[in-house]
């Protein structure tokens, strides 16, 4: 039999050396495997990022590629950070962020708590609840404008039916006071299941023995809820809030399809405003500085998120 001597020799050598003899070294394989990923990310993420930072110091306009590009230093940043209109869009984003997180945490946690009672059919209903989250926000958001139509829209009809108001008397996406709530409602509808799923994971990670011990100490259900359930779920909730916070800070597709930023600029969130500067007014340099500000903010939040993620992983 050919190769028996070699096999014997191979099985006698310690695995570390044997591996090196048989093929590429571990380090070479590791680099070979990681390199394509890193290369692609460098080409499509890091290189453009550096380009954006460079552009942010210029007055470049993408619709006039042949015009002279002037170096303007920090002037773009100064203008953005003292512009009350951009501050306004930040406040619109804050309103959106705060209320979506508020409702999603409230409803999401309540649902998770109910589902954790493990009634019959809970798996089926969980799957049903989760559906909206997985769908295309742009397509669904577009269809919600139909539900929001005065008179013919299902939403208006149901609200009018329940409250007795006139279904033609209000327009969720046309009225200035209502539009910010129209986007909050759709986002809450879409993303509550996300918070719910993570809370459910948190609730299921609490061992029964803790409750049993509390029961022995004659702690009331109410006390158990605040001293056991809430603190144990909190890291998970933190994770959900941070993730939704980052996602909604950069919210674009759903809202642009729902209201397009209108009426006026009441629902013009940061990303929509940025899109307008970059791809409608074509102030590329200015928009790049705007983009860098968003980058840094999201990057900062993302690092806190990863810290929270690792904390949950250790559980």
């Amino acid at each position: 039999m050919p190769g028996t001597a070699m096999d014997r020799a191979a099985s006698a050598t310690p695995p570390g050396i044997a591996r090196r003899v048989r093929g590429l070294s571990d380090r070479a394989i590791a680099w070979l495997f990681v390199a394509p990923t890193i290369f692609l990310l460098l080409a499509i993420n890091i290189f453009p990022l550096i380009w954006t930072i460079r552009l942010s110091f210029t007055n470049y306009r993408a619709n006039r590629p042949n015009a002279d590009v002037e170096w303007v230093g920090l002037r773009n940043y100064e203008r953005i950070l003292s512009d009350p209109e951009i501050w306004q869009t930040m406040q619109a984003t804050a309103h959106f962020l705060f209320w979506t997180l508020f409702f999603q945490v409230l409803i999401g946690f309540a649902l998770a708590w109910l589902i954790n009672a493990k009634f019959r059919g809970s798996n089926f209903w969980t799957t049903v609840i989760v559906l909206p989250m997985m769908l295309s926000p742009a397509v669904v958001g577009n269809f919600w404008t139909f539900l929001y139509q005065p008179q013919i829209g299902l939403f208006n009809y149901v609200v009018a039916f329940v409250s007795g108001a006139d279904p033609t008397g209000f327009s969720m996406i046309g009225d200035v006071p209502l539009a910010p709530w129209a986007i909050v409602i759709v986002d809450t509808w879409m993303w509550t299941p996300f918070v719910m799923l993570i809370c459910l994971a948190g609730l299921r990670s609490i061992p029964d023995s803790i409750y049993e011990a509390a029961e022995c100490d004659r702690a009331s259900k109410w006390r158990q809820f605040w001293t056991i359930t809430v603190p144990m779920v909190l890291p998970f909730l933190m994770l959900a809030v941070l993730f939704r916070g980052i996602e909604n800070f950069k919210m674009f597709d759903l809202v642009v399809q729902l209201t397009g930023g209108g009426p006026g600029s009441t629902t013009e969130l940061t990303s929509i405003n940025l899109k307008r500067e970059a791809f409608e007014k074509w102030r590329t340099g200015y928009a790049s500085a705007y983009a860098v500000i968003l980058f840094v903010t999201v990057f900062g939040l993302a690092s806190i998120y990863v810290k929270a993620l690792n904390k949950v992983k250790e559980r």
Partner: protein
Amino acid sequence: MRRFFHGLIRLRRGPWEMVASVLIAVGVIMLMQPFALWAYSWSFIVTLTGTVMFLITSHFPE
């Protein structure tokens, strides 16, 4: 509290990451609050400081 300051002086990761996280959070709140324009104007610098600090201090020993 004493351990926190002790950690800061000895350049430990935990407390420094905490400081950086707080800076980032403060920066984000300054960016989006509706009360004072000056806070909005300075928000970016605060967030940037926090983020850079986080990047550096996450390499400190535990």
